[in-house]
Amino acid sequence: MTKEHANWSPYDNNGGTCVAIAGADYCVIAADTRMSTGYSILTRDYSKICKLADKSFMASSGFQADVKALQKVLSSRHLIYQHQHNKQMSCPAMAQLLSNTLYYKRFFPYYAFNVLGGLDSEGKGCVFTYDAVGSYERVGYSAQGSGATLITPFLDNQLKSPSPLLLPAKDAVTPLSEAEAVDLVKTCFASATERDIYTGDSVEIIILNANGVRHESEQLRKD
């Protein structure tokens, strides 16, 4: 008795790359805006970044329908939190919620590769990086998605962050200034676009600091 095999997959990879960098008093979250399927481009203008709270932004690549469902779940949980506690969720709290939400579907995962960026309760930049089933850690910077393997080594070299192997553990945030970090992010995406077919069209950048939120956008190669 041979087992029946499905001829459809509940998953698809809609591509894209996400990056986040934490600074002493700022956080940069960026993602390209290309949405693909197979070797086709569906749209050049799709945002992968979602504002979960005043000081928490999540960038996610992977299977878009799951990403959207995840964003919806987290947004509505945050709304309930606000009703119950009369305040916004802190970024580390949101980080834990995201991890729990992902693990909840451990046996039919959200195919989403997330970076959560924001400011912690002391106003310092924080970045959390995840796998598809909720394993996470706080880091100084992270890249996820199809271009992550191209970007991460570059960031390792250029950010001048303290080594994660040092003991006692040093604070992971980059000593770079906000302007330098934003410029670095643009360079990352320009480079990843050259070699990763799923990254390109344009990059959307969010900069969070004590003064609020700023948006920047840069065009990328469309091929």
Binding site: E4, L42, G62, A65, A69, P109, Y111
Partner: protein, 260 residues
């Protein structure tokens, strides 16, 4: 890409192992007596194309319903009105589309029964369809359709697409199936924000002709639908002129005498 296929098939294999080996028992992943889940589509429609133009949305689809490699039905209407402000175009399994039309009918009915002067716009209908399709995908029993949803409400034009697994987006021009490969490139080159109705129709016909030449499930009988703030019209079925008078077709063996 390999990794999500491995992930997908690992999960799917577990589900299907449960289904096949325990047809008569209920298990965590199946409900009583359900052993029917969509495995393959039977009667299918091919591409739908939609574009925004100056006054609203234009959509085109042919009237074919294929049964595998047979073109079984040639008068299938794949463009339908949804409420006051929206137009839906469907490709994929026709019976699932008919089911979706029943859901939409109920949605619009309940919306109008509020009798509050508000009516669901294209953005809302698109969101509803996305949720329906995604939830069916979650139950491993998808509605086998790719849908295009367009409309105008309060002067705002909206055009979106949603696939059978819930992948959705909006754009100035969308297409399903083969349309993504053959029509979108033409639209990327020639679409403009301020297309007139005549220009829009010509552009859609150019895309549909291309599909007719190259998509084996396309038929030469199509409808074009227009939706604006004023209302919706779906054209009578008509066919496109095609051109086969290429030298290479007339005399295919020139340059290679003896071949065929």
């Amino acid at each position: 890409m390999p990794s999500e296929q491995k992930l997908g098939s690992a999960i799917v294999d577990t589900v299907f192992a449960n289904m096949v080996s325990s047809q008569n028992e209920s298990s965590l992943l199946s409900s009583e007596g359900d052993s029917q889940r969509t495995q393959y589509p039977y009667v299918t429609g091919t591409s739908v194309i939609g574009i925004k133009y100056k006054d609203g949305i234009l959509m085109a689809a042919d009237m074919g319903g294929s049964y595998g490699s047979t073109i079984r039905y040639k008068s299938v209407e794949r463009l339908k009105q949804v409420g006051k402000h929206s137009l839906i175009g469907a490709s994929g399994e026709i019976s699932d589309f008919q089911e979706i039309l029943r859901y939409l009918d109920e949605l619009i009915l309940h919306d109008s029964m509020w009798d509050d002067g508000n009516s669901l716009g294209p953005k809302e209908v698109h969101n509803y369809l996305t949720r329906v399709l995604y939830n069916r995908r979650n139950k491993f029993d998808p509605l086998w359709n790719s849908l295009v949803l367009g409309g105008v409400k309060n002067g705002q034009k909206y055009l979106g697409s949603v696939s059978m697994i819930g992948v959705h987006f909006e754009d100035d021009h969308v297409a399903t199936g083969f349309g993504n490969h053959l029509a979108r490139p033409i639209l990327r080159e020639e679409w403009r924000e301020d297309l007139t109705f005549e220009e829009g129709v010509k552009l859609l016909e150019k895309c549909m002709r291309n599909l007719l030449y190259r998509d084996r499930s396309a038929v030469n009988k199509l409808q074009i639908a227009k939706i604006t703030e004023e209302g919706l019209t779906i054209s009578q079925p008509y066919s496109l002129k095609t051109f086969w008078n290429f030298a290479a077709f007339k005399n295919p063996t020139v340059g290679a005498e003896g071949s065929w």
